[in-house]
Symmetry: C2
Subunit: 564 residues, 2 copies
């Protein structure tokens, strides 16, 4: 991770233009430490201390807690919680000395919501946007949200437009009040599933000097398992907001989607699901939700589940059972966030997404849909990871490593001019390809004896990367990747197509293929034939049942050295 | 699970022939309670109590324990442990009153190994097979293994043959000694990756009255991630042993392969990996192994990992750190086994395998290879599960639900003779298909107004099941399944092919297709065209961009009612 050893603090692309003063303060609030895909590990500094992101913020009821915020910090590792300033105001509004940290007895970071959720549920709240801002300042919130208007779900477009416009108006008119404030203010993005409105909302609010942004209204989308819609909403917001600001996904608290949401650039999550689900005897897992009554075993390693069995948990009296389920649910959320962070640190966030997507077909559908964001995934993902790439199937074609290799081949790679003949070889099993016995055999054969013309340029072809020139075979990720067999048709064609593209756009005067007898081999031969015909150059295919046997190798060397 | 409410105690197919007496005792030792694929939840009764399977048996060093067996039972839920009788004999051989439960201070079930592992490592042991049997009886083992000869790995076939023959000889000559013994005796299967020898070994030892069988020598296969070889070894052993006897997979203790091994019929697992890995600062997860030094976060919800962070764990002094890692590793193994059991209970073992196979491409390769065992998977899997089937891609084509539907369609289903015209409709989004608006629309249109010929037989087509006749649409699993989009080529062709087969072998006099405009729609239309040409019957395809629009529906009804 050498290229990340200096924390990244890029200044925002929009924010500095209109509001230079406040932004310079807020820009210091978020330091990036590690990345994978659009996911990142960061440190968010607030006036009550800093928290590491991505972070799950449990929603804490300000009036009554089954699990105290102090316990959450000490036993669950929650350094940040979120509570509702509007409910506090309604209940303790007269007490002007009230401080939210003291109220919750919590010395970590406290974020507060504004009552916007209550607008969504009840239509309106009994407080003005200004009052809500002042109140959050007064009670000492570390992270606070303006009183935005949630878009909601299944509402007419005119209503959606109004929620976007009104939220932007409120954001803009909040600015004088939050200027030079130590609180980190959140600028919400609305628009629901109307991506053009999400884009407009994100661009406009992203141009204002908020420290954090939040994407509203994903709850219904998630509850209905419309994860493809959710990924579009997140990506639209993310790509139109200043990338260096943290993005909060409002009301998202199911561990099954943490990996995907983080991979798309979400940094903060809040939810009361751990508690609400517990009250309904629902048990969270990173693969989905289970009803307690449907559990014969407790599929979890948390302290709650290791200290009792399913029958005991089911027979526990309601109050205690809710508390135990709440603890389990919170452990699972916190552990999954650590799992996501570890995946970012080691560069395996894609693999984690693939595993978690087996929790529900709609998650797998959403993962497959990421193909259309492959350039964005590539742009934000680090160049090098400590671990090899695991390729499982067509979903993986959207991996940044694949996109980046194809781009490098297309734009930055040119073989030595003296090697104007291409020898395409199907990939041997070992890694790197150039350290295999097969490559040595080829090299020796090409270098010894009469060599009337310059040595051919050896390129391997391998799924999913396509052409792997010998010069690049020992670079990451070509030096270390593993592929699940057998290959699917889409990966085969994707690979063959990129071989054709390489040949069709190259300057070689001649192509030789030294292939085995797999489906990929015959597809590549067909693809090359088309490319060579198009370029009007000669193609020789040397293959046989034993690719590296004496007979085939003899023919290959003859073809390479004597041109026949 | 009504069909399983009576425990299954089928008598063995081989065992009753030659050795009727002992077997009747041992047959009572294992009761099946629940099944999924070839996996099952069972209860194994021993003289010291019963244990539920599948069970992970931690290997306990009889001389020195970092974690006492009593703690393992009380804090980790291990009701069964395994230790090495040969090491006990070497160290305490003079003490004829020694009892293994007292030695380990463990009142659960104790299995003992025979020293065969020491043969593998050191070439031989200082005890005869008879002595080892007597010794295990003497110390009161609940489950004991004869002194077999492990095949090992990378040894010449002649050596493999000898290990198989010698193990069988020893098994046979052990029989008089273990007759009417309360100990449950394990008959090992050898043969390594030589499947013909595994088959012979399993058939022969399976014909002897052992209570339990064990498959030897998988350790090297697993350490080299050759999971396809492992699945072949397991399936060959399993299908040639009496299915009602528990199968122990020797030396298997990595949680990443529990789901697959259980799905193929393994019931018992033993390993010292939880301890050995801990000593080497290695951290187990259900997705693979991590080095402690590579962990920036602890991706686990176990008590060890929730009470500290990665830095604290790394900075803990060696002795304490090993103990903590051992605890973590053991928690993970026990929790994964509970996860596997819960998956069996709810019928989601296939989904769990798919998720876990994302831990390494070779696991995914092995999962794909299960296609060749699809008939066996189908035969042992229950007919009905409480939950809908999740279909993620081509791997899922080997699911028992798919195999069973195709078989039912082929062998047991015949449409009413009066409905001799087939109306094939692409599947609507809702479930069951016959409860959708689209089906009502069709039914209404077909039933009202002039109806010169009998109403057509409506069948839906849907991946991965192929043809879904209206009569079956509300039965499991056709009534509840979810499919990840977009479909891969293999699934598309698989589906289209089963539609063709249905049409080609049917007695319909005419076929109408009412299709949308997806790739599956056009493939099915092409496939039907071939089948109809072959059968010499008329095919009408009614389709258009709006499948359920007025124009297309009008044409469809005209075609159905007036034959044009």
């Amino acid at each position: 991770m050498g290229h990340l050893s200096t924390p990244e603090r890029t200044l925002g692309s929009y924010a500095t233009v209109k509001y230079p003063v406040i932004f310079s303060l807020n820009a210091m609030a978020f330091e990036l430490r590690n990345r994978d895909l659009l996911g990142r590990i960061g440190r968010l500094s607030t006036k009550s201390g800093s928290v590491e992101t991505p972070a799950f913020m449990p929603v804490v009821n300000p009036l009554k807690q089954e699990l105290s915020p102090r316990t959450m910090r000490e036993e669950f590792g929650c350094d940040i919680v979120i509570t509702n300033s509007y409910i506090i105001k309604k209940n303790f509004g007269d007490d002007t000395s009230l401080n939210v940290h003291r109220l919750l007895d919590f010395d970590g970071v406290v974020a507060t919501d504004s009552g916007a959720y209550q607008i969504l549920v009840y239509g309106d709240v009994e407080a003005s946007p200004d009052e809500i801002i002042e109140y959050q300042q007064g009670i000492g919130s570390d992270i606070a949200v303006i009183l935005d208007i949630p878009t909601g779900w299944d509402v007419p477009r005119s209503r959606v437009e109004w929620t976007v416009e009104e939220t932007l108006r409120r954001a803009e008119s909040a600015l004088p009040m939050i200027e030079s404030d130590e609180t980190l203010w959140v600028g919400p993005v609305q628009g629901g599933a109307h991506l053009d409105l999400v884009e407009r909302s994100a661009k406009e609010v992203g141009a204002m000097p908020f420290a954090i942004h939040a994407l509203g209204s994903p709850t219904e989308v998630m509850e209905n398992y419309r994860f493809s819609v959710l990924t579009d909403m997140i990506m639209t917001a993310k790509l139109n907001l200043p990338p260096e600001r943290p993005l909060h996904l409002f009301g998202a608290g199911h561990p099954m989607m943490f990996s995907m949401a983080v991979a798309l650039g979400c940094d903060l999550f809040d939810s009361a699901a751990y508690a609400l689900y517990a009250q309904a005897d629902r048990y969270l897992t990173p693969m989905g939700t289970r009803r307690l009554e449907g559990l014969s075993y407790l599929p979890c390693s948390c302290p709650v589940c290791r200290n009792r069995d399913a029958r005991e948990l089911k027979e526990t009296l309601k109050g205690e059972r809710v508390r135990l389920l709440m603890e389990h649910n919170l452990h699972v959320c916190m552990a999954e966030m650590d799992t996501v962070k570890q995946a970012i640190a080691e560069g395996t966030l894609w693999e984690l997404m693939e595993a978690r997507s087996r929790g529900h077909p709609s998650l797998a559908t959403a993962l497959r849909g990421l193909h259309r964001y492959r350039d964005d995934l590539e742009m934000f993902s680090p160049q090098y990871k400590g671990r090899g790439v695991f390729f499982f199937g067509p979903e993986g074609l959207a991996r940044p490593e694949v996109t980046r290799h194809l781009r490098r081949l297309e734009r930055q790679f040119a073989p030595s001019l003296s090697r104007d003949r291409l020898l395409l070889v199907s990939a041997p099993e070992g890694r790197p390809f150039t350290k295999t016995r097969q490559y040595s055999l080829l090299e020796t054969a090409l270098d010894e004896g009469p060599n009337p013309v310059p040595r051919a340029h050896i390129c391997f072809y391998a799924a999913p990367f396509g052409v792997v020139p010998e010069e690049l075979a020992e670079t990451y990720p070509l030096s270390q990747f593993e592929v699940a067999e057998p290959l699917d048709a889409r990966t085969l064609f994707f690979t063959a197509e990129s071989v054709t593209r390489y040949v069709a756009t190259s300057a070689y005067s001649e192509v030789l293929i030294h292939a085995g007898d797999s489906l990929l081999d015959s597809l590549v031969a067909d693809a090359c034939r088309e490319a060579c015909e198009e370029r009007g150059i000669r193609l020789t295919v040397v293959s046989g049942p034993k690719q590296w046997g004496v007979e085939v190798m003899g023919r290959l060397i003859t073809a390479l050295k004597y041109g026949k």
